[in-house]
Assembly symmetry: C2
Homo-oligomer: 220 residues x 2
Amino acid sequence: MTRQLSTTDRTTIRRGSAKARTERSDLYATLDAGLICHLGLLVDGSPRVLPTGYGRSGDTLYVHGSTGARSLREAAESVEVCVTVTHLDGIVYARSLFHHSANFRSAMIHGRARDVVDADEKWLALRVITDQLAPGSWQHSRQPNKRELAATAVIAVDLAEAAVKIRTGGPQDDVEDVAAGTAWAGVLPLRTRWGAPEPAADLSAEFEVPPHVSERKYPA
Amino acid sequence: MTRQLSTTDRTTIRRGSAKARTERSDLYATLDAGLICHLGLLVDGSPRVLPTGYGRSGDTLYVHGSTGARSLREAAESVEVCVTVTHLDGIVYARSLFHHSANFRSAMIHGRARDVVDADEKWLALRVITDQLAPGSWQHSRQPNKRELAATAVIAVDLAEAAVKIRTGGPQDDVEDVAAGTAWAGVLPLRTRWGAPEPAADLSAEFEVPPHVSERKYPA
């Protein structure tokens, strides 16, 4: 039995509903393939959208708080947030401008932010956030000391309420435009890959690039 | 004289202030290099973050309303929004996990959404949104008819209140970690490029890929 995403009013996708996905596996895949999320929350009554790192452990999303820390601290505890992860996979060129589109995968999570204070959970959260942004670094680099841990804010968001939307394939043109045959139609895919590692200026020239960097795949 | 970004409480970058940019040219460059934005707004009192297309004309940002249209219509007119455009340029590996970071360019715009209803302005808005997502298509593809125009929602946001944050370069490690020399440090750049165009299944095999697609550069 596959596990379905719960349906609430705000996770029911009304526009382009053919693109909505209802399997939890699509949610996990979309989140796990990402590098940054956009965290939305209210600050002094105004919406704010912050790009930041994240990681996942089971059905909990951990969001790195450094960029949102002040905003989160100023907001009330258990403030409502929306976390969106988007992959742009290509531009869809149609015969008409109206049917131009984009191929993409997006996950939108609604929930209340929980400040992670338990030491064990914070350690787990930092590990999964590291594994998402820089897999292998948790084992290779110096782990956080007490001072650094205290200076790092992490919030948790439950993955209970989420919407996943995926568009793939070519344009959906009107039949008259296809018949007219006056414009090109198709997809221009967007490819992302890692470039060559650039050692730090103050790194010994003999320090070889470790495999978790040199052999990193995209997505991880 | 260079034009400075205005400074308000919510555009004053407190964390990592070395990364804040105050020139309007940095705002334009960050926006003009992007393909999608994340539009944040309140729906029924909860934050929502929607990925969508956008374009710029001078100091006005036009945001494609299709994904946000229902949300925008449900919200009050001149609702407050936050539009964020983020480019992830690379992962910064430091000797310590604490100093791991990302190289990025981000622009965050705060303002009130204005529903674009004037026919001439809507036409301009659709042209700049098209030029951003699919440059050349405005000239090549069939332009919108009355029915399509009516079915398309566009909002305008003034670029008066904006914050730009840019991080470049290598890690900023603690001196003790540099001296210890036990971990690799440097940057793994993220490269994005266009793949080979994929003609639509129902396109005539003789239809050559037009230059605005085959020769498209990244960024545009």
